[in-house]
């Protein structure tokens, strides 16, 4: 398989590169070994039942270009309407083709003790938190997390000491400027919030053009007691992109993780979020919105592990599938024995705009405690014909009416969004997607 061979080549190149920290090499080697031994999962694998990786397997991924094509990167940001975000304070870390770009980044001003840095710059100092993150991956079966451990070159390392409250947001902007041959960027992030911290992190993934490339991001989130993180992921990759993301959240008592995952771009997209509610009174809120058209394939897998009593989780994912797009939602909620007083709700609703569009939705509740409140619901539907006629009878052209109704369906996921500049941007991106989708329908 071209992909596996190119990953092996990338691995050897990385191992031979000067300045590779000694401590990291064995970890990388064991992860690579485990990844190659298992190979890429097929649709026979339960977690990949509806998502075929054939397109990735058949692609040769060479190393990303080392030079920062900053100008091209900025141009793609502007093209994607992601260039500036007014009214949002905080540092901006920009990564181009998977590598930190100091020239495009702005450090912002941060309270003492807060670390917001590029992962590559921290490798030599052997951060304990990175080591434990990598070690945690080693035992995991998730193939792309193993591959990430073997091949990651950069990412963001964010650490907040206890009782730190950050205003605004930390922005991580990942831009890909695809070259003539496909490349892969393996990005490793670690977000660690000390006790009582509050922070917002906004990740944007941007690429332009039809060329193929792979983004493979693994993010570890550690939330100490009473800390709260708002985590936004906005995925606007290029039309030919493979985007794989895996967010693993470890929550201590009374911590709160709120996620907004908005997926608009890419050819083949797989987003995993797993949250471990490891101590009582932790809360996890997952909001998701995926819009896909043409032959895009978007797969969202979430796993919420209620390991302790008195925890809450709520999950709302919505999808809009146009043309021949395909969506997958797999949401598992596990309530372990003893996790009494668990309060878990999950909802996935999908709107299919054409007969060709398709979605597979699988809510999975596994409950091993008896005093819990768990609800789930999944729905797949079309636009309301009565509403459509009502709008048209008032003079609104059919395609505009369709967009109004689709926007209304999709945007309520964003209603609860706390930061106005981010909310406006996301609403704008959804509108823009709808307009483009309408143009294509012509």
């Amino acid at each position: 398989m071209p992909a596996l061979e190119s990953f092996s080549r990338n691995f050897q190149a990385l191992a031979a590169a000067p300045g590779a920290p000694d401590w990291l090499s064995p970890l990388r080697a064991s992860a690579m070994g485990a990844f190659l031994a298992a190979g890429l999962p097929t649709t026979k694998h339960e977690d990949w039942r509806y998502t075929s990786l054939t397109a990735i397997a058949g692609t040769d991924f060479s190393e990303p270009a080392a030079a920062d094509p900053d100008e091209a990167a900025l141009a793609s940001l502007r093209a994607a309407d992601l260039a500036e975000l007014d009214g949002l304070d905080g540092p901006v870390l920009v990564f181009v083709n998977g590598r930190f770009s100091p020239g495009l980044s702005s450090p912002g001003s941060l309270p003492a003790g807060v670390r917001v840095s590029s992962m590559a710059s921290q490798l030599a100092s052997r951060p304990a938190i990175l080591e434990s993150s990598l070690a945690a991956t080693a035992g995991a079966a998730a193939p792309f997390a193993l591959l990430n451990t073997a091949l990651f070159t950069d990412g963001a390392l964010i650490e907040l000491p206890a009782e730190t409250e950050l205003q605004g947001a930390i922005q991580l902007v990942h831009i890909t400027v695809p070259g003539p041959t496909p490349h892969a960027a393996h990005v490793r992030n670690i977000f660690s919030l000390g006790a009582g911290c509050r922070a917002t992190i906004l990740e944007s993934w941007v690429g332009t053009g039809p060329r193929s490339y792979l983004s493979n991001a693994v993010t570890d989130v550690r939330l100490a007691p009473r800390s709260a993180l708002h985590h936004y992921r906005v995925q606007c990759e290029g039309d030919g992109a493979f985007h794989l993301s895996d967010v693993r959240v470890d929550q201590a008592a009374e911590s709160r993780y709120v996620s907004w995952s908005v997926s608009l771009g890419g050819a083949l997209v797989r987003n995993d979020i797993s949250a471990l509610l490891a101590a009582s009174h932790a809360e996890c809120v997952l909001n998701g919105l995926y819009l896909a058209t043409d032959r895009q394939h978007v797969d969202n897998h979430t796993f919420i592990d209620h390991a302790q009593p008195h925890c809450r989780s709520s999950e709302t994912y919505k999808g809009v599938l146009d043309r021949a797009a395909r969506g997958v939602f797999n949401g598992k909620v596990l309530v372990r024995p003893g996790a009494q007083k668990t309060d878990a709700s999950q909802s996935n609703r999908n709107l299919l705009l054409t007969r060709e569009a398709e979605v597979d939705t699988r809510p999975q509740l596994e409950i091993y405690a008896d005093d819990v409140k768990c609800t789930h619901g999944a729905a797949v539907g079309q636009l309301d014909e009565d509403a459509l006629f009502y709008l048209r009878a008032r003079g609104i052209p059919a395609d505009v009416a369709r967009n109004m109704l689709t926007y209304a369906f999709a945007s309520d996921v964003l209603d609860g969004l706390a930061l106005p500049p981010v909310k406006r941007r996301l609403q704008g991106l959804v509108r823009r997607w709808l307009d483009k989708s309408q143009e294509r329908r012509g």
């Binding site: 009502y390 048209r392 052209p397």
Partner: protein, 264 residues
């Protein structure tokens, strides 16, 4: 303005309109009355261009143009307005946003400059007074959670904003208490004008006490079987539709509700 010739329409394979003729001139108010199942709503929906209402024969000319060849939005642009019997709730679409989108779509169609947010707000505030609606309705989703009366007032508000030349009011009086009926009727009366025609579709004479028609037609089994002035409505109120209903057995469904509610 409106010329309906021998109109036949089917819904779900069943012929509901069976050769309907009607001529409406500018400035006129026509009432079309008839028992349930006689084809009143089918007429309204066919004129507005609803998809599952299939025209199987006849012709409808609007200002000499073939109305039936137009899409629903074209009809609205041309000045045809249907006040829905059951206004649709549209969660997530704000009433103000919807009204402005509709007004600007219609203005664009008519070659008039679109209104910006401020001018629109000035206009809509003025129109809201007509139907005694407060501004709170603007920020709510279209018809969502509105009471029956509020929904009907919202229909008349839309009519006032869009300024149609031909307004078809489909059972606008249904589900209204007497106060709401007064408000809605006052709104409609305020919109009467020499170049605007109004077609009131109703089951009951009650509405016609408030909106006095120039002509009253009786619709039965998909045809207009009798026409007259407003006195005809009073006769119907006294005698009911019994004389106009085809005897059972000829394929016309007998409408139990029509019998139950008679004289109520």
């Amino acid at each position: 303005m409106l010329e309906i010739k021998n109109l036949r329409a089917t819904v779900g394979g069943q012929e509901i309109l069976r050769g309907l003729d009607l001529v409406v001139k500018p400035g006129e108010v026509h009432a079309i009355m008839g028992p349930n199942g006689s084809g009143k709503s089918t007429l309204a929906n066919t004129l507005a261009g609803r998809e599952n209402y299939e025209v199987s024969g006849g012709q409808v000319l609007y200002d000499g143009k073939d109305l039936l060849a137009m899409s629903p939005e074209q009809r609205a642009g041309e000045g045809v307005f249907l006040a829905f019997q059951y206004p649709v709730e549209i969660p997530g679409v704000g009433n103000a946003y919807f009204l402005r989108a509709a007004l600007n779509a219609v203005r664009k169609y008519r070659g008039i400059e679109e209104l910006d947010a401020i001018d629109f707000l000035t206009l809509v505030r003025k129109k809201m007074k007509l139907v005694d609606m407060d501004e709170g309705f603007l920020s709510r989703s279209v018809n969502e959670g509105f009471s029956g009366g509020e929904k009907k007032r919202n229909e008349i508000l839309q009519m006032a904003v869009l300024e149609p030349r031909l307004a078809i009011l489909d059972e606008t009086d249904s589900g209204l208490d007497i106060d709401a009926l007064r408000i809605v009727s006052a709104g409609v009366n305020a919109l009467r004008s020499p170049d605007r025609a109004i077609v009131l579709i109703t089951h009951y004479q009650r509405l016609l006490n408030y909106i006095v028609p120039d002509f009253v037609h009786v619709l039965s089994a998909g045809r207009i079987v009798k026409s007259g002035d407003k006195e005809l409505a009073h006769e119907l109120e006294q005698a009911g539709y019994a004389g106009f209903e085809e005897p059972p057995g000829d394929g016309t469904p007998v409408d139990v509700r029509a019998v139950q509610y008679r004289g109520a």
